[in-house]
């Protein structure tokens, strides 16, 4: 694949991440912070997020297994996780976090469990999509500045 084709592919991958609701406006904020002195900023942030979120998800998993469930603690963990997920623009993950918190408020343990499974799935899917995107972007070389999704 030549450079132009690679770059086109990168653009399409990026666009589909927005079109399919994986990412929101906040991701563009990160792209705007990337420049010549911070050329890999977005990827570094995504790496940091996935490193930290592995720990957060483990803590939530453990807390869910405890009986009786401490919904206040679960809500607190999820609040934190929602915060960092929204900071990278992880739209679907954020939505699941919000759903989880609503189930916590209602004291609905089953709802929490179901939502947590959905959350982990979205989290893993986004990770795969971002990894593929970053890899392609590195191969294609620098592309033009971030633009808002149509």
């Amino acid at each position: 694949m030549d450079k132009n084709q690679s770059r086109r592919q990168v653009r399409l991958m990026r666009q589909s991440l927005f079109d399919q609701g994986f990412l929101d406006e906040q991701f563009i904020q990160l792209e705007e912070l990337q420049d010549d002195s911070n050329p890999n900023f977005v990827e570094e942030i995504a790496t940091s997020y996935y490193r930290d979120s592995y720990r957060s998800l483990q803590a939530i998993e453990l807390a869910l297994e405890k009986t009786p469930r401490d919904f206040s603690k679960l809500d607190s963990y999820m609040h934190q996780f929602k915060g960092s997920s929204s900071s990278i623009g992880a739209k679907k993950v954020k939505a699941e976090c919000q759903q989880f918190r609503e189930y916590c408020d209602a004291g609905n343990g089953e709802g929490c469990m179901r939502t947590f499974q959905a959350l982990k799935k979205e989290h893993a899917t986004l990770k795969k999509r971002l990894e593929a995107y970053f890899q392609m972007a590195r191969q294609a070389g620098p592309i033009e500045a971030a633009c808002r999704p149509k």
Binding site: K82, S87, I88
Partner: protein, 197 residues
């Protein structure tokens, strides 16, 4: 910091227990030409601030670290001890939490995730805080005295030879003299009556 470079180089301490948020905030602030120091929690923040009180111009801190107590405790301590402006931030947009932040002394409360533009004007809090500190220091330093004081030789009121303007404090003596003057000049309206009662 040179005045004409302001607000470039404003020294900001950022406090958040979420590393991803810390990195993003640091980058946002650096892109606005501010100088940033990061730390992960209230305890670390206080160590850094106490080490060199004059080093920072403003603090930006998360509320939940991991609970609200840590965030608000830091806010109060920084306000009282270091007298620095503190901006609180959180993904918690609950009105009660925001109100609590302002009541505890936050000069602003930013809801996460926020855009870079939300940080552009934070230097205004530094200016406002400095002005308030100067005014407070002046008020504390000045003794509570009247602009008009009695001359040593007679009972005439003379302007005190103060180097700077003093605040007027309405004393009983002044009140007596005012009432005497009004009675001599005559009442023109009931406005004066409230002073003579």
């Amino acid at each position: 910091m040179e005045e004409d470079e302001f607000p470039i180089g404003l020294k900001i301490l950022v406090v958040d227990d979420d590393e991803t948020c810390l990195f993003i905030l640091e980058r946002m602030l650096q892109s606005l030409k501010y100088q940033v120091t990061k730390c992960r929690g209230a305890e670390e923040a206080l160590c850094i601030l106490r080490e060199d009180k004059g080093k920072f111009d403003i603090v930006i801190s998360d509320v939940h670290m991991p609970t609200m107590e840590e965030g608000f405790k830091l806010l109060e301590t920084v306000g009282l001890e270091m007298k620095l402006p503190v901006i609180m931030m959180s993904s918690d947009d609950n009105h009660e939490t925001m109100k609590k932040g302002i009541i505890h002394g936050a000069c602003d409360y930013l809801v996460k995730p926020f855009q870079r533009t939300a940080l552009r004007l934070i230097w205004q809090h530094v200016v406002r805080n400095r002005r308030n500190m100067v005014a407070l220091a002046a008020a504390v330093a000045e003794p509570k005295s009247c602009v008009l004081v009695e001359d040593d030789d007679d009972d005439d009121l003379v302007a005190s030879p103060a180097k700077k303007r003093r605040r007027l404090v309405w004393t009983a003596q002044l009140h007596h003299q005012f009432v005497t003057a009004v009675n001599q000049l005559g009442h023109k309206s009931t406005y004066y009556e409230c002073f003579t009662n």
